[in-house]
């Protein structure tokens, strides 16, 4: 059971130390809250609400007004925290069956954590399945029934067109597999081995030995994206067209391995909102 709020005398005197979090990195208010709790190793069943509330408010202070939906989600959580904080300050009857004001929040956090765990498992199953291939499948061609097409052609027109036709080379319809000239896997191996030595490397430097063939640039870039998607490396670019860094996962900034993707690209929710 949850301990009574009185038992957890909250000290937020030492809250003054800079507590910077990048809000964009989080998938929502629950994610941010969980991060704050885990980072300070707080007991989830006895969250120091006053401290967490202050930290949460500080973290969302800089939140942009460009994405109102997402700002709203964080603000709603902030309001909830402030309400709980106020309830904790009020004296409560001792006999009470009364629930700890934090109970619902704790329940949501635990549920969220469990979902995150299941999500990680689903991700692994998805990766395993993607390593097995079924027989290739080609989309059948759409056929338009002849009766739907009205005929409006004279024989002269027909002859004119027929005389102008040069027969095309017969198209090879065989299902054929063609290897790429430059393999992405090779590039991925190259990136990982360079990162193992150097920790971080500029995209441009990886290309230096292959200037003659633009395909190397394309495949190196794709390999970088793929590795980032597999959460093997972290990509960093200060602004568009600026130096693109490939960073070893171990050298990546704090928690970069958690969501490298979300920091760079909008999630589909965010895409939907901007529509």
């Amino acid at each position: 059971m949850l301990r009574s709020p009185a038992a957890s005398a909250e000290r937020d005197t030492d809250f003054g130390a800079a507590f910077l979090v990048e809000i964009d990195r989080f998938q929502g208010p629950l994610d941010l809250l969980m991060h704050l709790i885990r980072r300070q190793e707080f007991d989830i069943f006895d969250i120091p609400i006053a401290r967490i509330t202050d930290q949460f408010l500080a973290a969302i202070r800089g939140i942009g007004t460009t994405d109102l939906d997402s700002a709203g989600e964080f603000l709603e959580m902030a309001a909830t925290l402030v309400r709980i904080k106020a309830q904790m300050l009020l004296p409560r009857p001792i006999d009470a069956e009364d629930e700890d004001p934090r109970a619902e929040l704790v329940r949501r956090l635990l549920e969220y954590e469990q979902i995150r765990d299941i999500t990680a498992r689903l991700e692994r199953s998805e990766a395993d399945r993607s390593r097995r291939h079924a027989k290739g499948w080609v989309q059948p061609r759409q056929r338009t029934p002849d009766s739907d097409l009205p005929l409006d052609t004279t024989i002269t027109e027909f002859l004119e067109v027929a005389c102008g036709i040069t027969l095309p080379e017969p198209i090879d319809t065989d299902h054929r597999v063609t290897p790429r000239t430059v393999s992405m896997e090779e590039k991925a191996t190259l990136i990982l081995s360079r990162l193992a030595d150097e920790g971080r490397i500029e995209f441009a430097r990886l290309l230096a030995p292959f200037r003659h063939d633009p395909m190397h640039g394309v495949m190196t870039f794709l390999a970088g994206l793929e590795l980032s998607r597999r959460r093997a490396i972290h990509l960093q670019q200060a602004r568009p067209f600026h130096t693109l860094w490939f960073i070893d996962r171990a050298d990546a900034p704090l928690e970069a391995d958690q969501e490298p993707f979300a920091t760079m690209y909008p999630t589909s929710d965010e895409e939907a909102r901007t529509r």
Binding site: Q27, S70, Q114, D117, R129, A134, K135, E185, T267, A272
Partner: protein, 185 residues
């Protein structure tokens, strides 16, 4: 032509998993039991002869799939179809829907703490979830559930392949589990 060969031919020609009773349609001499026997024989045959593919049970059906260790070789070819993976937010929403189906959008959003209309649409477009009914509440909200494609996408035989609550390390074990479909009542 024996049963094993017929079943093999049907599986080879199919691009999606087939159930035993579907395979049995290939010939009058076949029924579900004979197909099951043939499937078992084929599977052990493939294992013994170290083929690069094996017979896999997926979404309640059977399919010939290459063994995972050959993925690196196939990845070098553009024309081998690649399954695109889902984003974290989409997987989160899918996890919630899988465990609590039928479930409405608002409940998914409450659990995740963020808007989920976009990911739900993505999951619907990819036919991983579908509308399975309407809820009782205000406006009779649409309720979503998972599809057979969902099982295929993750290589599950059935919904029971999802991790069970007792396997989940989170402290929820001894608490009421709001995530489980059977507790939804």
């Amino acid at each position: 032509m024996n049963a094993e060969q017929i079943v093999e031919a049907v599986l080879f020609a199919s691009d999606a998993p087939l159930r035993a009773e579907e395979i049995a349609r290939a010939d009058e001499t076949l029924d579900e039991d004979r197909v099951e026997d043939a499937l078992r024989a084929l599977r052990s045959h493939y294992l013994e002869s170290t083929r690069a593919f094996d017979l896999v049970e997926v979404a309640g059906g059977y399919q010939l799939l290459t063994r995972p260790e050959f993925a690196p070789y196939l990845d070098r070819f553009d024309t081998v179809p690649r399954t695109s993976r889902l984003s974290r937010p989409a997987l989160e929403a899918l996890a919630i829907i899988a465990y609590r189906q039928p479930i409405g959008r608002l409940e998914v959003e409450y659990v995740r703490g963020v808007g989920s209309a976009g990911v739900i649409r993505t999951l619907q477009d990819r036919e991983l979830i579908e509308v399975v009914g309407r809820g009782e509440g205000l406006g009779r909200p649409l309720l979503y559930g998972t599809t057979p494609r969902f099982l295929e996408h993750f290589g599950f035989q059935s919904i029971d392949d999802l991790p069970h609550p007792e396997e989940l390390p989170v402290v929820l074990r001894d608490r009421s589990l709001p995530l489980l479909p059977e507790e939804e009542g």
